[in-house]
């Protein structure tokens, strides 16, 4: 119990008898996700409002390339699938399923971050920096903050992975993974929006 991975102080109760019967932590993470919707909405609005208002290039047309990012998108989608399978493993006490798919999720997440780092470097090389024009500023800010979320998600998943590895993630505590998984899915759905809006509608 002392190594419960959560910000909760009610960790001792496995099924805390709350008013709704729902776990506090699950309510909290959903609340937080709801709040994050507005965060990304504001960033996406900024990107869209400024679209096409640059005073100089490079423009999205000249810079954005579809193949690499499609690969990244697929990675993120698959990782979403993997983590939900891992969660199933955690909930059903299937340790092997849990560890393997959680590991795969983390790998996908890392690859996505790697893809983004590579992509950013490539764009900078092509002459698009944060300071180059409005497109650069709003593109890097939007995708960069998404990338930051992915990174935090990866770190979170790794800590859960370590707990699981040490055998401290029995089915009763599957919520510890579920919270991270929900966050991870959210980061994925944000990308589901960003990908067409930024890359395919350029």
């Amino acid at each position: 119990m002392t190594t419960e991975l959560s910000l909760s102080d009610h960790a001792h109760a496995l099924h805390p008898p709350t008013s709704t019967g729902l776990d506090n932590r699950k309510v909290a993470i959903w609340t937080f996700i709801g709040s994050e919707c507005l965060f990304f909405a504001s960033l996406i609005s900024t990107y869209l409002v400024y679209k096409g208002r640059d005073t100089k290039g490079p423009t999205p047309d000249e810079i954005l390339q579809i193949p690499l990012v499609t690969f990244g998108t697929a990675l993120l989608l698959f990782s979403s699938l993997f983590v939900v399978i891992a969660l199933n493993g955690a909930q059903t006490g299937n340790r092997k399923r849990l560890l393997f798919w959680l590991g795969m999720t983390i790998v996908c997440g890392m690859f996505f971050v790697g893809m983004q780092v590579y992509e950013f470097q490539h764009f900078v090389h092509e002459g698009l920096k944060l300071q180059t024009n409005l497109f650069g500023a709003s593109f890097y800010t939007l995708t960069g903050f998404h990338g930051t979320h992915v990174t935090i998600g990866v770190i979170w998943l790794i800590t859960v992975f370590i707990t699981a590895l040490r055998g401290k993630l029995p089915p009763e505590r599957a919520l510890n993974l579920e919270m991270a998984a929900l966050y991870w899915h959210f980061v994925d759905v944000v990308w589901i929006v960003i990908f067409p809006v930024v890359y395919l509608m350029k």
Binding site: G21, A41, T70, S80
Partner: protein
């Protein structure tokens, strides 16, 4: 006041017990659909940017098509992977209400900027 305040979960309009989540089979099926939808998105993009009759046909409706496809993906992930379909309605509310506000914000900001800008153009 009640002395034996044993605290059972109460219904209060919400599901006291979450229905059990589907298994990997369902997840994989959804995963396949997601993959296909993504492929469709990219395909739509490619076609619309190629010369040819299909391309010219698709060009004007590319944006709505992409939005639809991505909305479908979004809904699938939220409903199945995030278990909104089975879990308490409270969670759906916690997600959908902010989403509505977020959508309203995005749409009205874009509309306001276009309107403001074109309005000023008109005055020139």
């Amino acid at each position: 006041m009640d002395s034996h305040a044993a605290h059972a979960p109460e219904a209060q309009g919400l599901d006291p017990h979450e229905k059990s989540h589907p298994g990997p089979g369902v997840y994989i099926k959804i995963g396949v659909v997601l993959f296909v939808l993504t492929a469709l998105e990219v395909a739509a993009y490619e076609v619309a940017h190629r010369p040819g009759s299909l391309g010219t046909l698709l060009q004007p409706i590319l944006v709505p098509v992409l939005l639809l496809l991505s909305a479908a993906k979004f809904a699938l992930v939220a409903m199945y992977y995030m278990h909104l379909k089975q879990d308490s309605k409270l969670f759906s509310g916690l997600f959908v209400f902010p989403l509505i506000i977020a959508a309203v914000v995005i749409v009205s900001l874009i509309a306001l900027f276009i309107y403001h800008y074109s309005y000023q153009r008109g005055m020139l």
